[in-house]
Symmetry: D2
Subunit: 462 residues, 4 copies
């Protein structure tokens, strides 16, 4: 058995000279600890040797018909055992904020997340899958001891899964002040009414807890104090998973994106997180690192798409018009642009991760927004090129490409559409206007004085 404890030794046998750690961009290398580099190399091995090959089994083990949403692929438990044994567990909790995690920085974990993004099973196998990651952060950061004991512990152990219920179908919930699910205090309970959708993960039979954002005080003059976050155990009376949403034609079983209704759902007040009216505070604290995770996994997906594209254009059995596709200039340009675009996007994300590490997510609003907007568009472009290079095989189940494209397409919408972020980024950047106008005015005045002092006139007069 190999040192990693994994049964295959795929990477070693390839004679590949460069480890994952060697491939860290030089500009980021200095900030990555040796321990993180070793874990990164281990993650690459685990992903490429164990998880990627297991993806096909994972899909084959998915339930059909009635069993679609009541079972999950057994292979995932086997992978979890291997990951835990190899120390690849809960890697995501950033060291400067959480004692429960593996002690890596956001930069370090980001590098690992890239490899996890190369397959379907790795994130879950290492207990680093969304939305559990963000939910664990919420519980670790804002939960009280009882809440932690009841929900955080089993989540950290990978015994249960969870969902985060914020978005609603009937309002423009890209603006979270619009959410309407009502939370009414009644004695020691809250009564919840309303509906949520895109409750990702709620399709899974292992999903036991919903973290629910709702409106507890719709008359509060401060629109950012009207919301609260409360814990609702799955299966509570009045909670109905109405249907599962598809993403393009995929249902993402066993995970599932649920449309859930709440009809007079009664939850004890002790399930409130942090306190009434503090919902915005919680969701804002939740978003930063999660965006880095999504972004880095998308980078990994783009790298994988590029791998697949290169494999195709060098497939000796596919020579349209007598020429290997890799001899076609247009294909080479697609490969080159993909390389360049991936590399640029990665640096944007790593820089954002370091900016979070410097202090916290608030410190990195600009950098996180840049990653949020840039990466999915880049990854969609790269994947779509790969799809096109495969022709019919690219759009169907014979490559992972079409599915990856659909997953990443949702990232241009999730946590706010690109356009909302761009407007916000534009407004923030535009705050420099007074300073800039002042500088340009002064430079103009000095310039005019220089002209006068030197007795010359500006050019281009008739």
């Amino acid at each position: 058995m190999s040192k990693s404890g994994f049964s295959q030794n795929l990477l070693a046998s390839s004679g590949k000279p460069h480890t994952a750690a060697d491939k860290i961009p030089i500009i980021a290398r200095g900030a990555v600890s040796d321990r993180a580099k070793q874990t990164l190399n281990l993650i690459e091995k685990f992903v490429e040797e164990e998880c990627v090959p297991a993806d096909v089994l994972f899909h084959a083990q998915l339930g059909e018909g009635e069993k679609r949403w009541s079972t999950y692929p057994p292979i995932i438990d086997e992978l979890k055992v291997k990951a835990k044994k190899a120390g690849l567990w809960n890697l995501f909790l950033p060291k400067n904020h959480f004692k429960e995690g593996a002690g890596f920085s956001n930069l370090e974990y980001g590098l690992m997340a890239e490899y996890m993004g190369r397959c379907r099973t790795a994130s879950e196998a290492t207990n680093c899958a969304a939305p559990d990651t963000g939910n664990m952060e919420v519980l670790a950061k804002y939960g009280n001891e009882a809440q932690k004991k009841q929900w955080l512990t089993p989540l950290l152990n990978g015994d249960i899964r969870s969902a985060f219920l914020m978005t609603e179908p009937d309002v423009a919930s890209s603006d979270a002040t619009n959410i309407t699910l009502s939370m009414t205090k009644q004695g020691n309970d809250y009564i919840l009414n309303g509906s949520k959708w895109w409750s990702s993960g709620a399709g899974d039979p292992r999903c036991k807890i919903y973290i629910v954002m709702g409106k507890s005080d719709s008359n509060n003059s401060n629109v950012y104090k009207q919301q609260s976050v409360i814990l609702v155990p799955a299966g509570t009376k009045g909670v109905t998973v109405k249907r599962v949403l598809s993403v393009y034609g995929y249902d993402d079983a066993p995970h599932g994106h649920a449309h859930i209704t709440f009809e007079n759902v009664r939850v004890p007040a002790s399930n409130m997180v942090l306190g009434e009216g503090r919902g915005f505070e919680i969701i804002q604290g939740r978003l930063g690192p999660g965006r880095i995770h999504h972004a880095m996994r998308s980078i990994g997906a783009a790298e994988k798409a590029l791998d697949w594209m290169i494999a195709r254009v060098n497939d000796p059995t596919k020579k349209p018009f007598g020429k290997q596709l890799s001899e076609q200039g247009v294909m080479l340009e697609w490969i080159a642009k993909s390389r360049l675009e991936i590399d640029a996007a990665r640096l944007i994300v790593l820089n954002a991760a370091m900016k979070i590490d410097e202090k916290d997510a608030k410190n990195a609003l600009k950098e996180i927004a840049e990653a949020k907007v840039l990466v999915p568009q880049m990854a969609l472009t790269v994947i779509d090129r790969a799809v096109q290079s495969y022709g019919g095989a690219g759009v169907c189940q014979d490559t992972p490409l079409a599915n990856m494209w659909a997953q990443i397409r949702t990232l241009r919408i999730a946590d706010g559409p690109d356009e909302v972020h761009l407007q916000q980024m534009g407004k923030n950047e535009n705050k420099r206007s007074a300073e800039i106008r002042g500088k340009l005015d002064r430079q103009k005045q000095i310039g005019e004085r220089l002209l006068r002092e030197n007795g010359v006139q500006q050019k281009s007069k008739l």
Copy 2:
């Protein structure tokens, strides 16, 4: 007088809280020395307070008619005095290769070059202007003592200027093996015949030395050994500056892009650099850092364009249809995208600079090519948005935008068109194909074994 020795104190008076050093992307910050940070702050002051205001005078002092190519703006000498005094001189020579320079790394100088790119005069004022920088590198690296004494010393002092003559009008010289200018040994001399163009800087009356690439051994079976580089003093008999090329409608006086003919030009054999047949070696050694300089200056130009755009969309006298342009969503999106695209491009260049610093330019071929291709396209996009936001003022002499656009447009062609670099990048990336195909094959085999072992079949059968 301020500490910097500059007469104005423009930045300080603006109450701006962030210095240039503060604005270094966090991912690069750890690799920048304190001395470099101090110099960077000084450079920003010098550029914004001294050089930018002087640009207008520089243009006004350009000669007209007969004097176009026999004079140069006196302001440049004043700026050079100030720069030298402030220690801002020859900053470009990288510390790990040259003792003559200011002792900065490519990363550190790259950060400085960004500020120089914000104006017309700063690079020359600090003796960091192309093509002198590359030429000085060639002489310092490959020149013998006599050559250094005669040409490198006055160049380092800023007493003369120089030109690099490689490209030819009648061949596809993006492929340097095609160049035809002949160098024939005759006794102790070489006789040169042929023509060169895009000899940038040769229009300047201060340009005293041409570094000329030609073919000394066209029969050599190794096509990369046929070329030599020789030093030709401007004004040598038989050398004729035939005309100056325009860039769009700009003649770039006093610099000038010359079309030069060589008719039986006789040069002593001692002017040969490094030795006959070593031309390729020299030009390849010359290219890496120069591309970082160009790229970082272009980043600076893009930042300046964004500044100007923000100034315009907040101009209270320009309210089409009753609305400040900065309230228009499309303008905010342009600003946001520009911010994001500039930031991504900068990280690509800084990463390339660090990769050079790690060892040398050969070590960073991929990273340099990425910067070479990405940055000009990004800068052109950002500048064009700024042009469009200004309307008529954007395309004419009333802003620096149109001129900057034209200058940077040439970078998509100079040192090889984008398309040549993309093909090369694609081919290099495609070299991973055997490794990738091997990995995917093995993963597929393991996946099929897993299916067999678990007794399930791949999905989607009818």
Copy 3:
């Protein structure tokens, strides 16, 4: 009951002033007969009042599990009855080549196809659905009387459906000379061995006949004479529908894109179409009009997406940040660009249709290729904007957008990927090079003579 015979009167009741005929671009209007205009208006009514509302029922009636590929939605037969009664049947067969059709030109039918592209059911309801349309053209044009009687008649009656089997999984079949399915003469039969995929429509239980392209003479020195086309009844011994391919997760039931294997399949020689070795002739004759149909339906899909986008951005219940999306400048720009891009693409297709009408598809190779490449890319862009404007609702089953996107994405691949067409178009255009170089040379010579005669010199000399 309304004059159209349709039960609803949706368009009339909307008080909409413009009929479909009124909306024909003025540049094409003169070439459209009054009868075609009347039919076009009827088609619009049929589509909007009958078919679009029926789409939801169509999807709800699809079989699940075992019944997925053995049933089809009953609503389709009801619609077919209505369409036939209204005279909306077999509209696609172009008047100048086929007596069996409704007697419209390609231009006229193209205009109708645009409306059919606005929904799932209309093409089939009017017996104008691919691949039957192209298959009927093949049989009408190249089939003998027996073949016509057996297969064309029931197809024209809408009693059966058909598939066209050309593409193969194991070769680069974008180059049709690569196909390998073997057809070996054995007595009065042909024996077929090989496999086909993307056999669209073969999933449908009503699909009774396959038109199969194979290699009957792989030693023929003329690579375009090696192929033949033969008729294979569905269910022939040795034919196995191995699986159905998905398109971004959609299985397109009941249609289905089948992967089919042929193992010693025996077919009477009388099933050969046109004669052995004439396969290329047949597939080339089949492609032209079909591409116009696809293109115009895609235009219809894009129009529908724009409709849906406009509906969303004006939805009074969706006001993120207190503002209707239709007040956002970026949304208005998306709408405007979509309008413009759709209109330009439509003109390209209509021009191509007229070019076919002038003579035949060979006459219109350039124009058809332009439509083939431009339209899907345009439609994907427009639909993706609509998806983005809907957020979560855009990627799931709550709008028709995600499904339309996936369908049209395949058009960038089907009948040859964009890149193959672009290379061919480039080569054809490049054939003008000798003529162009000759003209430019002569103009240059005349120009130089004019300079001499007028005693002036070209400008820009130093």
Copy 4:
């Protein structure tokens, strides 16, 4: 001498089989008269045989220094003589509105304008150059008899030239209600004060008349009634041509884009066009056909750029890396895309021209806006590809490409920037929202009724 009366017979000698008339897109052909086709063929000959070769002489004859703005190239008069003799004169005045012109429709003249756009001299040689064309339309349509006699007659004869002064430097004049030049009635005169820029053509010594838009009644409650248009002879006291604006470094001599100041300029009230307060009416009537002219000339420029690109990539002396550029896939794709984009844009313009011909420009607002926005962006893309294919020769004076690019870049700004037009187009398209929302709602209701009636439920419930 050839039948055309032109001295060369360049096109005939090329053995080119297709005439300009043959190349009219088939979709437009039916609407073009035989006389227009003959004139079109003659225009092509005149442009290619006479004008294009003369362009180089035109540039060589431009004055330098002091003579820059007091002379013009004599060749232009020679060409005008030839054009008049061949009947190629004042072709632009549309037949259904003006008796003074050559009697062609906007569609027919549009086709001719495309050829004129292939060179610098043809528009002026045929008296079809902006801004004279629009100014002649204004005078013919709105001028009184005295005004026509004094100014229209010499303009129609090509004896003088003219300028249109609307845009102002100090306001956002893309919104024409912002203009501030004051027109104060004083006895029988108006007194004008203010400044104008981008007064194109005012640099030419032959420019004798300015058509000036100003504010005569700034207190009028109707902001579209505050403006008037008045005729100001060049050289009137108080009028100063302050300077000439450059366009990316080009001064466009002898035409020139002037910045003009008005200081107490006194003009007789009889110079008022149409009447006080009717300025908006006049400028709106002026814009439609002019935009078609600009657009079609830009199409011609793009065609020319494509010609030049094809010439370059087939230049046997330019083979980087041993390969003709026309063998490079990327180059072929550029050629193909250029062909496609030009063809699509042309159809958009021709359709707009026909829409004007149907009635008038108001009838064609959408179509004209589409042409206005699409064509310059397309042409810039095509020209930029050509520039890139030429490398250094592309950006300098050795090809017409850089200059064409700069000219067309201004069209994205002139007569309102793209963004203003896109917002307007978006708003207009958005007016369909009530109709669309009504239709979709009714379709949804019918769909739901169908589900109920058929006893089925929508799919995708859990």
